[in-house]
């Protein structure tokens, strides 16, 4: 499973929340492919997914959070995705 965190460079909120979210995500999916994408470097891809606000989170190429989720929200989203895949 792939998780993409779109961020704007210099975003203090993104940096603050990142470590907690990453830990929470790996608790649910141990072999998660965690990617952090600078939106300015991946503009076309971000636009294609419909990213309009930052930070945003996509799971398996689908935009799931248009703002920073809480750790609990991320756990729930990943658990649901696991159920769908399996």
């Amino acid at each position: 499973m792939k998780l993409e965190l779109f961020y704007s460079p210099g975003c203090v909120r993104c940096a603050e929340a990142r470590d907690g979210l990453k830990t929470a995500a790996f608790e649910i999916v141990a072999d998660l492919d965690w990617r952090e994408l600078n939106v300015l470097d991946e503009l076309d891809y971000a636009v294609q997914l419909g990213v309009l606000t930052l930070p945003a989170v996509a799971i398996d190429g689908e935009l799931v959070f248009t703002s920073l989720p809480t750790q609990r929200q991320l756990r729930v989203a990943l658990s649901e995705r696991c159920k769908k895949v399996n």
Binding site: S8, G10, C11, V12, V39, L40, A46, V47, V51, L52
Partner: protein, 169 residues
């Protein structure tokens, strides 16, 4: 945002202060809405609209009840108009203005808003390009200009698209 009844600030009167025991009178310059509009090259209607949207607030009211603005308002209006030209909505400009006056805000906050605006613009460009491609197809389909209008492929194509949309197909 607006002045509460009974709490209207009056136009500032000249202030007398002392410099080495010598009295000095300082005149505080204030502009009426018409004067401000003229200086900022904007209509008074637009200024009132900005006020209604909470982007600009009169600094005082004259004894006769006219709105009065400090000279810095000219700069503020310039900022609003520049931001509008960059595609920011009035609500977003309000956020930018709030960030500008917020002590704890940093450049990264403003940058994030600018990047989000760029994402919106890029999304619109993408949509416009796909619309342009769809029009190209319709234009190419209609190569015979002398067709009667009832046989016009452009109108037929649009009609087909309309049916597909309304029936969810």
């Amino acid at each position: 945002m607006g002045d509460q009844p009974g709490s209207r600030r009056k136009a500032p009167r000249p202030v007398t202060t002392y410099f080495f025991e010598l009295p000095i009178t300082i005149e505080i310059i204030m502009f009426t809405i018409g004067k401000l509009a003229g200086l900022a090259t904007i209509s008074t209607e637009a200024l009132r609209y900005y006020e209604q949207e909470g982007l600009i607030v009169p600094d005082a009211k004259s004894d006769a009840g006219y709105r009065l603005y400090r000279p810095e308002s000219v700069q503020r209006i310039g900022f609003i108009r520049q931001a509008q030209q960059c595609g920011f909505t009035l609500a977003e400009i309000r956020e930018l203005l709030a960030l500008r006056s917020e002590q704890a805000a940093c450049c990264g906050d403003v940058r994030r808003l600018a990047v989000e605006k760029k994402l919106q613009i890029e999304g619109k460009i993408r949509l416009m390009k796909s619309m342009s491609k769809a029009l190209d197809k319709l234009i190419n389909d209609c190569s015979e200009e002398s067709h009667p209008v009832v046989e016009c492929p452009i109108l037929a194509g649009l009609e087909k698209a309309n049916i597909a949309t309304t029936t969810g197909r």
